[in-house]
Amino acid sequence: MANLWKIFSKGIIQENPIFVLALSLCPAVAVSTTVVNAAAMGLAVMIVISANNISVSLIRKLVNPKVRVPVYIISIATIVTVIELTLKAFAPLIYKDLGVYLQLVVVFAIILARAEVFASKNRVIPSFFDGFGMGFGFFTAMIFIGVIRELFGNGTILGFSVFGSSYPPALIMILPAGGFILIGYLVGVYKIWNERIEKRSGAR
């Protein structure tokens, strides 16, 4: 159990997909302008990456290594299509906001990387926890970015006004430039944080 917790939790801080591995930055900047969109994207990726790790792990002994990447892509594409149709039916507004980035989940580096690095070499249960942890790390990072960008770029959180109507929103925060600057600083914060964790575990 402790081992599974370790596999799950490493995706949240030590190997956070956005802040430490610096994967999938394009959607992180593009759709994190509001908390709702960021959360929807984070949830979608979390489901895809967990489900895909399960399916890749299940078929890991059947796949010829030479064709593994196309096989993984088909698996991811199937799951993404399911999510896309579900969102289209039940949350059409969010579906419209996410736009092309939802379909682009198929080729997210982080999902393929987890299939390649972890799920293709491990049993089903650990693979699920690995995907779930990575997806959860992505989700929390997206929420983090989304809250800050919506707060300063629009003066709201989840659509509710925080600073009142006299606040002049700083549009740069909901433009890509502000997104990149913010992610740069958060990468720095995570680096300091990780160094402290390492120092503490080293001292012990």
Binding site: P168, A170, L171, I172, L175, A177, G178, I181, G184, Y185
Partner: protein, 337 residues
């Protein structure tokens, strides 16, 4: 001073002499002396801006300069460096930022702009001597992105000779064409005269061509800036706008107008010559200044914004390391080979 020390420390740690960012050469000139001299060269144009745009300009300049120095002191304190805000570098950054703002901006714009210039553009890159981009222009670019309406609301002149409109000449050119600009000034000769002396709408420190050129010549005389940069940049803008700026075929544009309008003069003399963010060698400086001029003309004539000096200098800042590699001085070349 601290930048020089840090540089040698880094070289010691590396164990070798690496090709690194400027400043390279040590001389009797100190950073405070250079910075305060540049401030003095800018003062006439700033005071002129305060006179023609009134109290709003005074407030903007004060807010920019004071907040820049406060942020500088705070960051140096957090970074556990010696607090040397009297070296003038933060004062100069704040002053340059103020000169690129409209006079009557809301009070939070200068403060946020100074924050971005000092904290984001300067100290996040490593502080004085390490920044890749011109801090004042980064601050301005961020403000234009964030509050586009406030940044293009121009103050009418309190002391007006014959112009009543507060619109900038380049803004009118973009929206209504060249004839409307001439009409606004009431004749071509009047237009050149007003542009030269600075009686026009615009950012608070960029209007007076006369005072800015005098300040620039003072700095060239002192040896702090290289004359090739402003001459190449302004010349490039002149030639390209003369060739492509007209409405009736090639070589029908108005180079004099384009050379004096907007922020070209202040950009060419005081921003493109920044020691930290521009190339070291003369050849490199010419390439840099040509690029700045060409991008400025591209944005003015084809792009969506009326003015492109700020973006052109920022874009060329980003390729400064490449230009420096291209134009190495002979001793560096031998060492690398």
């Amino acid at each position: 001073m601290s930048a020089d020390n840090a540089l040698t420390l880094e070289q010691k740690q590396a164990g070798i002499f690496t090709v690194s960012a400027s400043p390279h050469m040590l001389s009797n000139e100190s950073i405070p002396k250079i910075m305060w001299t540049v401030v003095i060269a800018l003062l006439p144009a700033v005071i002129f801006g305060m006179v023609i745009f009134g109290g709003g300009a005074v407030q903007t300049v004060l807010l920019c300069v004071i907040s820049a120095m406060v942020f500088e002191a705070m960051v140096l304190k957090i970074r556990k460096r010696r607090i040397c805000i009297n070296d003038g570098s933060a004062f100069l950054t704040g002053l340059l930022l103020a000169m690129c703002l409209p006079a009557d901006v809301p009070f939070y714009l200068p403060i946020v702009g100074s924050f971005i210039a000092i904290v984001v553009a300067k100290h996040s890159m490593g502080g004085l001597g390490y920044n890749i981009f011109n801090p004042a222009h980064v601050g301005r670019a961020a403000l234009v992105l964030s509050w586009p309406v406030a940044m293009t609301t121009w103050t009418p002149m309190t002391y007006s000779v014959d112009t009543v409109s507060s619109a900038t000449p380049l803004g009118v050119l973009k929206l209504q064409g060249y004839d409307a600009v001439v009409q606004m000034f009431g004749g071509q000769a009047d237009m050149y005269k007003d542009l030269f002396f600075g009686f026009r709408g615009g950012c608070l420190g960029e209007t007076s061509v006369l005072l800015l050129v005098l300040g620039g010549i003072f700095l060239i005389y002192k040896g702090y800036i290289d004359w090739v940069v402003p001459v190449t940049m302004i010349g490039t803008v002149g030639v390209l706008t003369w060739a492509f700026g007209g409405s009736v075929g090639l070589f029908s544009g108005d180079p004099l107008f384009h050379m004096m309008a907007g922020g070209l003069i202040i950009g060419a003399f005081f921003m493109a010559t920044d020691m930290v963010t521009s190339p070291i060698t003369k050849k490199g400086k010419i390439i840099f200044a040509f690029g700045c001029g060409a991008i400025t003309v591209l944005i003015r004539l084809i792009g969506g914004y009326p003015e492109g000096v700020c973006y052109s200098i920022l874009l060329m800042n980003s390729v400064t390391p490449l230009i420096d590699r291209l134009c190495k001085v002979p001793s560096q070349k031998r060492r690398v080979a």
